[in-house]
Symmetry: C2
Amino acid sequence: MSEQAVTAQSEDFSRWYNEIVYRADLAAPSPVRGCVIIKPYGYEIWEGIKAGLDRRFKATGHQNAYFPLFIPESYIKREAQHVEGFSPELAVVTHAGGKELEEPLVVRPTSETVIGEAFSDWIQSYRDLPLLINQWANVVRWELRTRPFLRTAEFLWQEGHTAHATHDEAEAETLQMLDIYAEFAIDDAAIPVIKGEKSRLERFAGALRTYTIEAMMRDKRALQSGTSHNLGQNFAKAFDIRYLTESNLQEYCWTTSWGLSTRMVGAVVMTHGDDKGLRLPPKLAPHQVVIVPITRRDDQLTAVMDTVERLDRELQAAGIRVHVDRREGQSPGFKFNDWEMRGVPVRMEIGPKDVENNNAVLARRDLPGRQGKQFVPQAGIVDVVTALLDEIQANLLDDAREFRDRNIHDVANYDELKQVVAEGAWARAWWGGSDEDELTVKDETGATIRCFPFDQPDQSGKCVLTEKAAERIALFAKAY
Amino acid sequence: MSEQAVTAQSEDFSRWYNEIVYRADLAAPSPVRGCVIIKPYGYEIWEGIKAGLDRRFKATGHQNAYFPLFIPESYIKREAQHVEGFSPELAVVTHAGGKELEEPLVVRPTSETVIGEAFSDWIQSYRDLPLLINQWANVVRWELRTRPFLRTAEFLWQEGHTAHATHDEAEAETLQMLDIYAEFAIDDAAIPVIKGEKSRLERFAGALRTYTIEAMMRDKRALQSGTSHNLGQNFAKAFDIRYLTESNLQEYCWTTSWGLSTRMVGAVVMTHGDDKGLRLPPKLAPHQVVIVPITRRDDQLTAVMDTVERLDRELQAAGIRVHVDRREGQSPGFKFNDWEMRGVPVRMEIGPKDVENNNAVLARRDLPGRQGKQFVPQAGIVDVVTALLDEIQANLLDDAREFRDRNIHDVANYDELKQVVAEGAWARAWWGGSDEDELTVKDETGATIRCFPFDQPDQSGKCVLTEKAAERIALFAKAY
C-alpha cells in the first residue's frame, strides 16, 4: 500500500516477485521457517482455483474425501522409490499427548501410502472400480530454499488418487486429469501451458509415467504447474490393492495420482504481472471491477455515491465481483496505483461530470494509460463490462502465448542449446540421451528437460547432445 | 452395505452410532491412532456444512485466509491459561528435513497464537479495524478416547479470528457469530440448538466469555456444537496486538475467536438417526432424492430407464441433488434398505406400471412405511419433490425440537436434578454456585453445566445446590 514504485521486472525479477506478493497482500511472512501466511487477497485467488478445478473433477465423476495428516513412518518406506524421493523432506512427529510415540508419525508430504492402504480395504471386486477420489489438503515438504507460493515447507493442494482395472484405463485417467489441468490453466488462469511427459529423472517417486503442464514465467523460467502420474501397479503391489475380476481372479489394480497446488497462485503472478504489479485474469480476480468515486468538493459526495452504489448493485446482480473503494483520506491517484498494483482487471471511475452526463470511465489493467481507457454510458453498463472482462481474459492469454512462443527456440546442436539457455529462453531439441546425458546438460547449462511435449513433429531426428537417433523432441529450460 | 440390521438405538446407542458411521460410508477407520478417514458420503455432508457457513461468514464481511499448520512451541506458552488448557493434547514435530529442530513445532490445536502474532503485524491503526478473518483448516488434539466425528486426534473445522477497537464491538461480533452458528444449525442441519453462555469452568482457555450452541442427541446426551469466544484483551496483550486510536493513543485490541468442526456431522447423525439408520436433512443430504428403477423382466428395462433418465434430468435441472441407483444384481428391497440406512430424504420408485400410468412412487425417509409413501403424477414432479423436501426439512426440525423439549425438566432441588440426570435427561435449574460447587455436581451426577441459556426467566431464584440466591438458570446434562 506504499506509494513507492515496485522494482522493475527487468531489474530484478526475483525481487519484483517478492515485493508484489507481499505488497499486493497475497501473502505475509510467518514466524515458521519456510511457511507463509496466505492473506485474504491471495486466498481468494486460491478459492477461485479450487472452484474451477473442483467443478471439473466432479463433472468427471470424482468424489472428495479426507485422509489423515499423519502417516506411520513405516508406510512411507513400503514403496522403495517413494521413500527415496521423499525421505529428505519429511517433518516427523515424535511426541504427542505428553509422551514419546512408539512409532513416529510423518506429516504427509503426499498421500499415496495412506490412501493406498485405504484402497486395499475398500476395493474388493471389479464392481468397486474405478475408484475416483480427490482430497483438498495441506502437505509438508521440508525444503531448504523456499519462496512464497512457489516452494514452501507447507502448502495447500489437491491430490487425486484413483484405482482401475487395467493399465489402459489408468493411462486414460492420467491423461484426462492432465487435460483438465491444462483446460483450467488456459481457460481460467489464462496461462498457455504446454502438456507433455516428464523424463525418467523428473518423474514422481514411484510412478510409471509422469505428465506435466509447464508454463513460462515472465523471466522465461519454466514453472511446473500441475502433474499427473500413472503409478502402474507399483503402489498396488506395495499396499496390496487387489480386486476380483469378473472371472474370479485376483488382480492388482492400476493406480494414478495427480496434484495441483497453491503454486498456481505464483504462476498467475509471474505469467501476467508487469512492472506496475499484478495483472489478474478476470476469472480468478477477487475483484473484477473496482469502482473509485471521485469528488473534489464535499457537496458532490452524495450524487457521486448514489451513482456508485447503483452501478455497484447492477454489476453485483449480474454476478460480477465488484468492490467500491470507499477509503477516505486517500487521493484518487493513490487508489488508481494501488489497484493497478493489485491487478484488478477493470477500474471504474465515477466523478461529478460522469454523474451529470450519465457516463462512467473504464480503465483496463491489461492496456496501459490512454489506450485502455474509455468513456461509456451508464445505461447498459453490465453488458459493456461483461464483454470487457472477456476481452481482458482473452488478451492476457494471447499476450502470454505470444511471449512464450517468442521465447522457445528450435536448436540444432548443443552449442545452440547452450546459447539459448544462457539467454534465459527455452530450447526445443531432439533428445535420445540417457539419464546421465540429461544430468550433463543440467550441470553444464542449468537447464532440465521440462517435458517431451505431446505436440511432436512427424519425423524423427538426431539427439542434440549425443547425435544418436532420437524419437522425441524435448523442451529444455531453467526452472523454478 | 450388508443386509444385516443395525443395532437398535435403545439397545446400545454408542454401538448404533459406530455402526451407522461406518456402514453408511460416512467414515472409515484409519491406521493412525484416533484418526478416521472421512469417506465421500461423509465429506459431502461436511461440504454442505462448509458452504452454508462460508456463505454466511462472507455475507457478514469475513474473509478467508490460511495460517501455518506449525506453531513454534514458545508461542503456545505466551498466554498462561491457553498453554494450561492445550499442553496435554499437543502433537510435536521435533525432526524435519533429516535434522533435529532447534525449537520444536507444535501441530496447531487452534490458531489464536500464530494468528495473534500476525494480527500484531497487520494492525496499525483504527483504520485497520475491525479485522475479520476466518480459516478452514485441520487441527490436532491428542485425545485419549476418540470417536468418529465427535472426537478425533485430527479434525477439520473453521476458526474465525477477529480484532476490534472496543470491548462492545468484540462482544457484538462474538454474539453475531453464535447467531450464525445457531441459524445454520436450525435452518440447514435441522438441529434445534440452544444458545447460551458457558460457565467459567467450561470456558475456552484464555477467553473472557465463551458462548455455545448445545444440541440434544437421541440418547439425550448434550453435544456442544459450536462455540464463540470473547477473548477480551488477553491475547492482544500476550501478542501485542495494538492500534493507534483516532486521537493518536496506543490501545490494545479486543479479539474474538469462534469455531465449528466436523463434529457437526456427528451431530446430524445423532440428532436425526433412527433404528434404520441415518435420516439426513435435505439441505445437507448428498443425495436428496434417489431413484430406484424397478424391472422384473429384461424387456421392461428400456422403458423404465428412459423415464428414470428423464426424471433425473428434470430434477437435476431444478437444482435437486438426485442419484439414480443403477446397481445391477441387487434387488429393489436391498436398495430400499440401503438408502434408508444412508438417510436419503426421498426415494423415488419407477416401475413398468408407473411408466404406463405416468406416475412415480415417492417414499419419505422421515415417515415410516405406508405413511410416508405416495403416488404422484410425473408431470409437475419438480414442484412436488421441492415441496416434499421442504416438508421433510421442517419435520426433522420439529421432531428434534419436540424430543428435546420433552427431555428438559425444570428441577426445584438437588435431588430432582440428580434424578433427572440419572434418567439421562437434561435438568434446568437455578444456579449460583462456585466452580467447586459445579465440580461437586459433576462428580456426583456426571452432568456438567452445558450453558446458561440466553432465554432466561424474568425473576431470580434459589441455587439448586447451595440454595443461595441465584441470578441465572443453567442447563445440566451429561455430554459428549
